[in-house]
Symmetry: C2
Subunit: 249 residues, 2 copies
């Protein structure tokens, strides 16, 4: 069985190993819109098992069940399956107390991909060029106090922050709290990048600052990069260029 990262969605950012895994599979399992991102030239004969967004564990069990029965299953993830995506869900399901003994014998190969923060970074320069931290703001599965503690620690240690899952219908207010924390611990001039759907139709990347940033333009498909005190912006030939230099004063 393979857990396959599609990257952001653009086929030019799909690893050859991922393309090979899609072609190998008899069954594709994933969130419907991600299955739709699989290039049609790949996996043309495979059965597609689409499912809803919030059912990762059921999806993982279904995939393990089919793999244990001898099917060649590819579980589809956007970005890198190892970063806030399907790799954890599949492996948790494989080894949890409700797992069937046959499931633990399934060989699961993780095929990496380009996660959203790195796709976003590449569009604006090198904001992640130095030490950074990657934090999901979703409190579906962890207490908000843990998130706040981590954001605060990263800010106090002057790390660049990459924030995933900033906002959703079920939690409209948490992003505001996190950004208030950013405002209280970073100078207003600190560069901020808000990137939505990078590598997909409708890509929108905004370079702004801690003083000017607007939570209103973010949704669950946005990734937010907050600079450190050394991150700076230059005016390049094709727009703003964000750099976190390699050296630290």
């Amino acid at each position: 069985m393979r857990v396959v990262g599609l990257g952001p969605g653009d086929p030019s950012w799909l690893l050859p190993e991922a393309a090979e895994a899609l072609d190998w599979a008899t069954d594709l399992v994933g969130y419907g819109p991600y299955l739709d991102m699989v290039p049609s030239r790949l996996a043309s004969g495979a059965v597609r098992h689409g499912s809803d967004n919030r059912v990762e564990i059921q999806r993982a069990r279904h995939a393990l069940e089919m793999a244990a029965a001898g099917r060649r299953v590819a579980v589809i993830s956007s970005g890198d399956p190892g970063v806030f995506a399907m790799a954890s869900a599949v492996l948790e399901a494989q080894f949890d107390t409700e797992a069937l003994p046959a499931w633990t014998q399934v060989r699961v190969r993780i095929v990496p991909g380009v996660s959203a923060a790195f796709a976003a970074a590449s569009r604006v320069g090198a904001p992640l060029g130095h030490d950074f931290c990657v934090i999901s703001l979703s409190d579906n599965l962890k207490p908000w106090s843990v998130i706040e503690r981590r954001v605060r620690a990263a800010l106090e240690a002057d790390l660049v922050l990459a924030l995933y899952n900033p906002v959703s219908r079920h939690r409209p207010h948490q992003l505001g709290v996190a950004l208030d924390l950013v405002r209280s611990l970073r100078p207003p001039s600190t560069p901020v990048v808000m990137a939505r759907d990078v590598g997909r139709p409708g890509e929108a990347v905004t370079v702004t600052s801690v003083g000017e940033m607007d939570a209103g333009i973010c949704d669950m498909r946005t990734v937010i990069l907050v600079g450190s005190t050394t991150t700076r912006v230059h005016e390049g030939a094709a727009g703003p260029v964000v750099i976190t230099p390699r050296s630290y004063p």
Copy 2:
């Protein structure tokens, strides 16, 4: 001009956009051993400008000079150029006080790749499945006190750590100090992954623990992943499987 990530080295982990950029280039600029990693079917007609490891800024200036003169230049990076690699160096050189005005007009496109931590993670399961921090232990360009503060902050906030550049001839002792900090702030049973040359000949991945880890097996080509208090190891069909679950108690 393009700054191109080769990923770890295996062609199955080279993005199509990177392959296209290599074919487009008239000139390849990079650290010698990375130029050697460019698949021979690509960039066959390009001039290769190899240089030594510690001369990133000179290399970047040379690349900008050629690009400003109309050459199609690809600067080669291993991994993701945006993560402790050539993107920062090129963009710093482009906008620093010694840059020629023509250089700032060069359009620099960053082509992402798979950075070492994510390649390593994919080999052992999903150790980076939840909030994590990426820190370089190199004190060539930043004070050791900053590194120590960041490692401590990440440990105290219970983030998974990915440590790059753990050791070199010039700084044999810093890794020991960092690992002592890990030992003092994480339980001995916490999983640790030490991965060298993932995706290259001689790949070696060791799954160990804070109590058992041995700095002696690390060199500058090793990346170290230190689990959080929720990271755990299961015995899978093909060896140990490391998981940082999506939920936090």
